[in-house]
Each structure stands twice: as C-alpha cells, then as structure tokens.
Assembly symmetry: C2
Homo-oligomer: 266 residues x 2
C-alpha cells in the first residue's frame, strides 16, 4: 500500500531506527475517515493534532501542507472512502529523553480500506489497566498506546470485541478506541475529558448536535444503562452486552447518533 | 554508528514504517551498561525484558540469541565501555490495536558512548504529569515514554536536570530515568514498585546489597531528606537541590551506593 513519507510517495516507507517515534513513542497521530475522496472533519482533526504537538513541543508543518499530503496520498492510492492515518513523530535523535533543540519530525500518511460494518459489540470492563486521567497524555492522541493494547488484548482473551477503560478513580473513561455514550434513566451521558475521555472528533460532533450530559459516570451506572453506543472517527457501533450481561436496545441511540454524525459538515 | 537489526549488522538501520513500535509504541527495551566489552548484569536485564514481553504477549528470541546479538554489536563497534540499548517491538502489522496472531518482532541493538560523569543534579518535582501506578506498564520498561519526556522537558524549562515523578496518589515514584534513594532521619528509603517505581536493575542490586526501607514516600518527607541519590543502569548521581532548595550532603550516600553497585557480580 502506498504511503506519503516526508514529502515523498513510496510503496515501502522506511524509517530511521533512531526515530523517537520508535524508540520512545514520541509523537502524535490522527485516524481520519475519507469519504468521496475527501478527509472528513479535517479541521477538527488538525486542531487536535496541533494540541498534541503543542503539549509535546513538537514542531508541525502548517495545516495546508498536511492537507496537501492527505490529498496527495488519497489521489495516489485511488481511494475515495478510506481510513487515513496521519502520524507525526519527533524524528531521529541520539539517546536521551530530552528532545533535541533542532528536531526534524517524521510525517507519515497511510491509508487503508474502511473497516467493514461490525456487529454489535461484546464489551468487557478492562481489569488489567486503568487510564491515567492525571496525565495530559489522556487528552491527546499520542503514539503511547500500550494501555489500550493491554485492554484490547484482555477483551480478546475474554471473548469480547472491545474493552471499557476505567480511570484511576475507578470511573468510566472510554473504550480502547472509542467514546462511550450511554443512555441511563433516559438521559444520554458521556464522561468528560477530565475523567480521562479522549476529546474525540466524533465525540465533539455529537456533543454539538444533540443533548448529552457530560458528567462523571460510575461503573455501577454504566451497568444499568438502557443503551450504549461507541463512536470514533471511523464510525459507530452499538453494544450488545457488557461483561456478558445483554443490553436490551441500542438501535434507537445508534440511529440518533448516526443522524448527527452523518449530517453535512463545513 | 553501527547497529544490529534482526540479525544483521548495519550502519544505517531502517524500519518498516508499519512497525507497531513506531505506530503504537508497542514494545520493550533495556539500557545496559557494557564494561570491558561485556554487558553488566545481563541476566537481570534479560529477565526484566522477558517480564515486559510477557505482559505484552510479545514473543522474544531466547536469552542466548539476545546475548549473542549484544556481543556481536559490541565487537563490531569496537566498544569496551558503552551504553547498549536492546529494543524489541511487535514488528510491522496492519492498522488496529489487537496484535496480529503471527507477529514478527523487530530486534534492534544500538550502542553509544557512556554519558560523561555529571555534576550533582538539580531536581524538580514534575507538575505536568503523574506516573500511573495502576497500570502494569509502570512495572516494565516499555516504548511508551511520553510521561517521562513531558517531565524531563518540564525540568529543562525550569532550569533543572531531572524531575521527580509522583504517582496518582501524589506520593513519590521515581525520576524520569532513575530510581530515587533518600536518607530520611538516617534511614535509607526508596519507594516500592507498587507505588509506581520501575523495578530497576541497579535498584535491585542496591536492595540486595545494603539495608533499604522499601516503603511509600510522601513528597513532604522527600523534601526533608538529608541526602538523595539517583541510580540507573548507567550510573548514579547525587542530588544538589530539590525545587531550588539545596541538600546538604549526598557524597556519603553516593559513595555507599557506588560501593554496592561496583561490587563484582556473577
């Protein structure tokens, strides 16, 4: 599959092994849906990427350059609908945690097919790890994905598709790849960013488009939810059961969220 | 600088950009001191690497193969005293958090000169982030180093050399690259692994060689320590001041720790 790496289209992108993205996970990324040959909600994705880069002190190309890279790759790959990934790492550097003053970031864009529609998710609550709401990393999309990988592996080992991550206080944060929306006593609820929820692009679109209570969510409350639906930039998926206990519905909430997310955007 | 990558010595090691070490920080590493052409405390380093790999479900070459790789690189680089780095990542994979069933890990060994002796450290307490003692990642040396990078950047911005990381409960865990030993009321103290301290190889050697109280350590206690010394596999360093407040000593504790760490090992 063709990729765009630091300005060049290439069928076999190769990186310097001293890249801090590899040695230290020092970088940020975005997963972006493309539809009809165009990235969806691009401004929101680039704004979030820029927030992450600012936290890390990572210099980024300007938005126009990043937008051109995405467009160039989509055209070269001949894809209209795709899952794009835009990754920016600190680039190669000698040993040591402190980034060099003159870093040369690595910018990589890859694209693949959109994941096929998935059946309702079997969800478990991860026991192996907790999301650290005390770290600003919880609020950016960084290359440090191991807590999420551990939880996703636990889900697979328990015969499930996806895992809920609790924060260090034991309240609900999100799932390994998605924002969690739950209907509880008829009210639609999602955990706030301060609780360890990633400020998702689809999440923001939902919050802007319908009535949602952004508030701390206990696990006990989640367990008695009438409906749970997961959203991320690639799509949405309703939850069939949580730790083996079936949820009644989901179709109604899924339809409502889909309507908001499928609405035309600027 | 020459490197050993997946069985081959190369002057310019290059990686597939789909390597999960790069895309997700999915891997583990060890920093190992070499002296007289031989890696120090190799068995302890390989045991810790194996613990980390087991947590991640990452297949590792056997110890003999890893030892041979380190020896081959040291010989090729013509280095007697060096800082070795052994990195194992999940290897290339398609998009998605769940590791592929048939992963082909990337094994990379690099070497560089030992860091020069450093003056006593100016230490600050990181405010930007907290170490997540609720995650098993706190107990392994993974490629997810961003919390440490954030704290190390904060130290530099505040004119210091190194930062103390607190855990989510606000107690002392370690510094960004070292174990912290403090003498308080005459007793030598270091935080336990359950508090978020990395189970360091030098730390284990100190605990085996002298009387140390392994117990939770509050920041208030640390602030009234008589001496603080930092250790890691590359060496040790005493602390000159903490958040701008000078510490009286350090030489005595540094000498005692050095004696234990310099003792011949099996």
């Amino acid at each position: 599959m063709i990729a765009w790496l630091n300005g060049t289209l290439t069928a076999s992108p190769r990186l310097d092994a001293a890249d801090r993205g590899f040695t230290l996970g020092d970088g940020v990324f975005e997963t972006i849906r493309a539809a009809g040959g165009r990235p969806c909600r691009l401004a929101a994705h680039l704004a979030r990427l820029r927030c992450g880069a600012e936290l890390l002190g990572l210099p980024l190309p300007d938005d126009a350059a990043l937008e051109a890279a995405l467009a160039e790759l989509l055209a070269a790959a001949g894809l209209a609908d795709a899952a794009l990934r835009l990754t920016v790492s600190r680039g190669p550097a000698p040993r040591g945690l402190l980034p060099p003053a003159d870093s040369h970031p690595t910018v990589l864009v890859t694209a693949g097919p959109l994941p096929p529609p998935a059946p309702p998710a079997r969800l478990v609550v991860a026991t192996v790890t907790r999301r650290n709401e005390h770290s600003p990393l919880a609020r950016i999309k960084s290359l440090n994905a191991l807590d999420n990988i551990l939880a996703r592996r636990e889900a697979a080992e328990r015969g499930a598709d996806e895992a809920v991550l609790l924060n260090t206080a034991g309240r609900v944060a999100e799932t390994t790849i998605a924002t969690l929306f739950a209907r509880i006593d008829g009210i639609l609820v999602t955990p706030p960013v301060a609780e360890g929820a990633l400020p998702g692009v689809a999440r923001a679109a939902v919050l802007a488009g319908m009535a949602v209570a952004e508030r701390p969510l206990s696990l006990a409350e989640l367990r008695r939810a009438e409906e749970i639906v997961l959203t991320n930039s690639l799509g949405l998926r309703r939850v069939a059961d949580l730790d083996g206990v079936a949820l009644a519905g989901g179709e109604r909430l899924e339809a409502a969220l889909r309507q908001v997310l499928d609405a035309p955007t600027a």
